[in-house]
């Protein structure tokens, strides 16, 4: 199914087009979510939410960019929203557990990287890097994640973020400077 046919089908709420979209783009959506969240369960849940959102708002797609660009944009925004909401949720959870003196903590922290099969040292290293990336301002984080993890070129990132190419270059430069600043003291 070609992209224009797919979009027409989505707008018409055609289940075949809908299935084709999920089959064609689920890896892209999941990987973007995983790149930001570093948790497979959350990434799976969010992938489903994103496809539901796409299904409900397909009529809003103007067709002035590629479908993949639109999906990258939605996935990125939804992932960052999820992290923000999750931070609030974690804050209230921590606050309530502090006041209730409940020391048992059966639920793993949702934002932690899933590195179950690695040794402790490697886990520590990945946590360092993930923490440093997480603390970047949103724009820098999006640019860095899309370029370094999704391996997207600057031009496509500019289209996804709706900014100019020099703006992406600047964001990437600042992201690298900030990462260096954040990582270097941790290693000394």
């Amino acid at each position: 199914m070609t992209e224009p046919d797919l979009i027409k089908g989505l707008i018409a709420k055609d289940s075949e087009a809908w299935k084709a979209l999920v089959d064609q783009y689920q890896i892209l959506v999941y990987n973007v979510c995983f790149g930001f969240l570093q948790n497979s369960h959350d990434a799976q849940d969010l992938t489903q939410d994103i496809f539901i959102e796409v299904f409900n708002s397909a009529h809003k797609f103007r067709g002035d960019s590629k479908l993949s660009t639109w999906l990258y944009r939605i996935s990125t925004n939804r992932s960052l929203n999820f992290i923000r909401n999750n931070k609030k949720w974690r804050f209230w959870k921590e606050l309530s557990s502090f006041f209730s003196d409940d020391e048992s903590d059966d639920n793993p922290v949702s934002e932690e990287p899933s590195v179950l099969n690695e040794n402790m040292e490697q886990q520590e290293r990945s946590r360092f890097l993930y923490a440093a990336i997480s603390n970047l301002p949103d724009n820098q984080r999006i640019a860095f994640t899309l370029h370094k993890i999704e391996d997207l070129p600057y031009a496509e990132i500019a289209e996804i973020m709706n900014v100019t190419l020099p703006a992406v270059e600047s964001l990437m430069h600042r992201a690298k400077v900030n990462l260096r600043k954040r990582l270097t003291p941790l290693l000394k």
């Binding site: 809908w18 299935k19 999920v22 089959d23 689920q26 890896i27 999941y30 990987n31 995983f34 790149g35 570093q38 497979s40 799976q44 992938t47 489903q48 496809f51 539901i52 299904f55 990287p113 899933s114 590195v115 690695e118 490697q122 886990q123 290293r125 990945s126 946590r127 360092f128 890097l129 993930y130 370094k148 993890i149 690298k176 990462l179 260096r180 990582l183 270097t184 941790l186 290693l187 000394k188």
Partner: protein, 153 residues
């Protein structure tokens, strides 16, 4: 070149194919500098583990899961849960307003109770006419002045 430049190169992920001499210089520096070496290990193994959880194959059940989830959402929308959400949305401002009004009433009551307390010397006076009489009595000087003014004219 200093460590800062090498750290930037590490973050850039220097490509051996594109820049073989740069890669060789970096390798030589890493062999000597422990801090850059540690930096490189963090970036490299951190990136590897971040990327390791990515998917390369489709989940065949995803479409079914999404359909089930959509049905669940539709059912929830049509059931009583929606008004509950709305109540929660408007409930907080209403609760705040009600609490403010109650607090105002309570504070007003406290202030009135404090100001309405009789003076020490008039502890035995309790009825309204007595209080009124007391008030006239307390203002004797002014009433005498008014009386003399009226009688003078």
């Amino acid at each position: 070149m200093n460590c800062k430049t090498f750290e930037e190169q590490i973050l850039d992920g220097i490509d051996i194919n594109k820049n073989p001499s740069g890669a060789k210089t970096l390798e030589e520096h890493l062999a000597q500098c422990s801090s850059c070496s540690a930096f490189q290990q963090v970036v490299q193994s951190g990136s590897e583990s971040i990327i390791s959880g990515r998917r390369s194959m489709n989940d065949p059940e995803l479409f079914g899961k999404i359909q089930r989830r959509m049905l669940k959402i539709e059912r929830e929308d049509s059931s009583t849960k929606k008004p509950v959400v709305k109540i929660f949305r408007i409930g907080a401002p209403f609760a705040m307003a009600a609490a403010s009004v109650l607090l105002g009433i309570w504070l007003g009551g406290q202030i009135l109770a404090f100001t309405a307390q009789p003076a020490q010397g008039t502890a035995s006076v309790s009825t309204t006419p007595e209080l009124y009489a007391l008030d006239i009595h307390l203002n004797d000087e002014s009433s005498e002045f008014i009386e003399s003014y009226l009688s003078g004219n």
